[in-house]
């Protein structure tokens, strides 16, 4: 058992949502990085074929499929765990303090000497060091080697607060929306920005679910599979679930005095899908975002909401009351959030339900 930044390997779950049945290339690519951790693989319930995992790997893996989901969640919930939302089931049943989740079409980035860059270690570093959301440090993360707080940074703010969420980035296929990618189909992200930074308090951002890590104990319930597009698909261009969930988490973190970091680590995202095809479905998500950003930005939660689940429950009510009228998608999201809180209370802790 080894320790990185005071976090023991045994405190971490790597949660992978399997939207592809053949996970052999994925597992081979990540073998050297993931093998020291426990893995939870949740198979998209819509996936018909059996999962293919490489033989003979010294992984500790738990695989969950539709039958597990049905057993634990039952059919009375409005939450759909299909597509990218399947990984939330993994978040729910995990009993570890930290979760790292990476999409199954991503592989590690190689550095100039062809060594694999370990995003898990970087995520853990981000979560183990304080966040500094109350004042912007122009040299970015002051806790990194070779950096510090700059002149003019108030000393009382230098101890920072706990970081609850670490949002990584992507080389090659960046997480752009369909219209943007369709306009520049050859565009790939080749810029490696060597920085991590805290996203300031009360500042909203689009949190991508492709490469994230979080402190499950502190914010687990706040990552919720709530907003589903009617045309939701199996490529990121056809979803908004993570963006919605991310806005919820940011509001919760700001309210509870927890930090969110963005930047390193990078993963390499393989080319997949057709942006122009997805364009036909994406407009719904784009339309919804126009409404929700100002709404989230103005959200102030009550003082009595002192835990993540209380915050989510309160937000769900407000979504229903204030946004439910403008689009049925919001009404459904509110239901899903309320169901999620109930589910979390029932099976989010205690003995594993699977």
């Amino acid at each position: 058992m080894s320790v990185v930044n005071n976090i023991e390997d045994g405190e971490i779950d790597i949660v992978i949502g399997a939207l592809h049945s053949d996970l052999r290339p994925f597992m081979s690519a990540w073998k050297s990085i993931f093998s020291r951790y426990h893995l939870i693989i949740v198979k998209d319930p819509d996936l018909k074929d059996d999962l293919q995992i490489p033989e003979g790997l010294s992984f500790k893996i738990d695989i969950y499929t539709k039958s597990h989901i049905d057993k634990v969640v039952g059919s009375s919930t409005s939450i759909a765990f299909s597509g990218y939302s399947c990984k939330y089931f993994g978040f729910l049943v995990s009993r570890k303090k930290y979760i790292v989740s990476i999409d199954d079409d991503c592989v590690p980035v190689k550095d100039a000497d062809s060594f694999l860059i370990d995003p898990v270690a970087q995520h853990l570093r981000n979560l183990a060091t304080p966040a500094t959301p109350f004042f912007f440090n122009t040299l970015y993360d002051p806790y990194r080697n070779g950096a510090d707080f700059v002149r003019g940074y108030p000393f009382s703010l230098r101890s920072g607060i706990t970081c609850a969420l670490s949002c990584g980035l992507w080389l090659n296929l960046a997480d752009l929306d369909a219209p943007t990618q369709a306009l520049k189909p050859e565009k790939r992200n080749s810029r490696y920005v060597d920085a991590v930074m805290t996203v300031p308090a009360r500042v909203m951002m689009p949190i991508s679910g492709i490469n994230i890590a979080f402190n499950r104990e502190l914010v687990g319930p706040a990552l919720c599979p709530a907003l589903r597009l009617t045309g939701e698909g199996k490529v990121r261009w056809e979803t908004m679930e993570d963006i919605w969930s991310g806005m919820c988490v940011k509001v919760v973190c700001d309210h509870l005095g927890l930090g969110v970091k963005s930047g390193l680590p990078y993963v390499w995202r393989n080319d997949r899908g057709d942006a122009i095809e997805s364009l036909k479905k994406e407009w719904e998500g784009v339309k919804l975002m126009e409404e929700v950003v100002p709404w989230f930005q103005s959200m102030v939660l009550s003082r009595t909401a002192t835990k993540a689940e209380d915050c989510v429950a309160e937000m769900a009510k407000r979504v229903k009351e204030q946004l439910g009228g403008s689009d049925p998608g919001f009404g459904r999201a509110a239901e899903a959030m309320m169901d999620w809180v109930e589910l979390w209370k029932k099976v989010g802790s205690g003995p594993s339900p699977v």
Partner: protein, 363 residues
């Protein structure tokens, strides 16, 4: 080990953007030898040299540069009694250069800042990057995880609302430093050998509602949009504080930019900061500031400017009133500073009468 670009003579001279619309303001007390290395990038532009310290000393400007130079006697002559707002024996005096400039944009740089190299070894044209930053919009209302979406190779990410993609005009471009980082005295004393060797290849907008420590070593701004708020305060000779000039200006411009819907960017370009100032001297200068900033920051965080403050000058006068009202009780220095802020605006308006300089929202 990071090193400056020593041979810039062979640097490619690109088209000098905005060469008739931008002034380079340089405060100096020693000499301007550093300009030789910047020649390929600065020569097309007009320089405003603000000579601090002994006005009888002659500061030689390298041949070939087009410049105007002001020493203390010139400042006193031009401003008369209002010259009291311009600091003496502190690089804060540079803001006099902002006031006398007639250009739309300003770039200011310290005389110990050399040309840096990017990771490929190429000499960085810091001025060109600042201009690029200023000429494209900022995005303060929603954080873009791929940083400045207007940079080549970047874009807005999925989930970024389309209605926010036009951005707002950029008022300030804050650059960074390789080698000697801009640390305060206590940090310098604890880490005398730390050097910034990390080149972070990003420019980003500092979100609305977020304050930051603005360093004046490598800074550019849109003079018509925010110039009157770029007062660097009362520092140096006869003042209880130093090394907070740029910090003060940074907090003022940020609350005003947030109020007027203007953007502030930070990140590239890097310059190579060559000189580490004496940390013991710095400690003496900063000492009060370290305590005062604990109260100053909450003050700025709570500032709410009234709706009828629609120009930079109006915002700034209002801010001066609030400084007197709320910070005056910390130390009489803030009373003086508030008065100096008003004097500065009077002087600014006198030297820049009517029209374009006053509008808050012009792009």
């Amino acid at each position: 080990m990071v090193e400056p670009a020593t041979d810039t003579k062979s640097a490619v001279r690109t088209v000098a953007l905005l060469k008739d619309e931008l002034d380079i303001v340089i405060p100096t007390i020693r000499n301007l030898d550093f300009l030789e290395m910047w020649r390929p990038f600065f020569e097309p532009y007009h320089l405003i040299i603000v000579q601090d310290g002994d006005p009888t000393k002659t500061i030689k400007v390298p041949d070939g540069f087009d410049y105007e130079l002001y020493n203390r006697n010139d400042i006193n002559k031009i401003l008369g009694p209002k010259a009291s707002c311009i600091s003496f024996k502190d690089s804060a005096c540079r803001c006099f250069g902002y006031m006398v400039s007639k250009k739309k944009y300003i770039f200011t740089i310290d005389d110990d800042c050399f040309v840096a190299k990017d990771p490929t070894g190429k000499a960085i044209n810091a001025l060109e990057q600042h201009i690029k930053n200023l000429l494209c919009p900022s995005t303060p209302f929603f954080f873009n995880t791929l940083y400045d979406p207007f940079r080549e190779g970047a874009d807005f990410v999925r989930g970024y609302p389309f209605s926010l993609r036009e951005g707002v005009p950029t008022a300030v471009s804050h650059g960074l430093w390789l080698n000697i980082p801009d640390y305060d005295a206590p940090t310098q004393l604890v880490k005398p050998l730390e050097r910034n060797t990390r080149y972070v290849d990003a420019v980003m907008t500092i979100p609305k509602g977020t304050l930051f420590p603005m360093c004046g070593m490598n800074l550019a701004f849109h003079r018509e949009l925010i110039g009157p708020a770029m007062y660097f305060g009362l520092m140096g000779d006869g003042q209880p504080i130093g090394r907070y000039d740029d910090m003060w200006a940074g907090w003022c411009i940020k609350v005003i930019c947030d109020h007027l819907g203007l953007g502030v960017k930070t990140g590239l370009p890097y310059i190579y900061h060559s000189k580490a100032s004496n940390p013991f001297v710095n400690l003496r200068k900063e000492y009060k500031g370290i305590f005062w900033q604990e109260e100053i920051i909450p003050f700025f965080q709570a500032v709410s400017l009234p709706k009828d403050c629609t120009t930079v000058q109006k915002c700034y006068i209002e801010l001066a009133k609030m400084v007197k009202d709320k910070l005056g009780k910390i130390d009489p220095y803030f009373d003086k500073l508030a008065d100096a802020m008003v004097t500065w605006i009077d002087a600014w308006d006198e030297l820049n009468p009517t029209g374009a300089a006053n509008k808050g929202k012009k792009a």
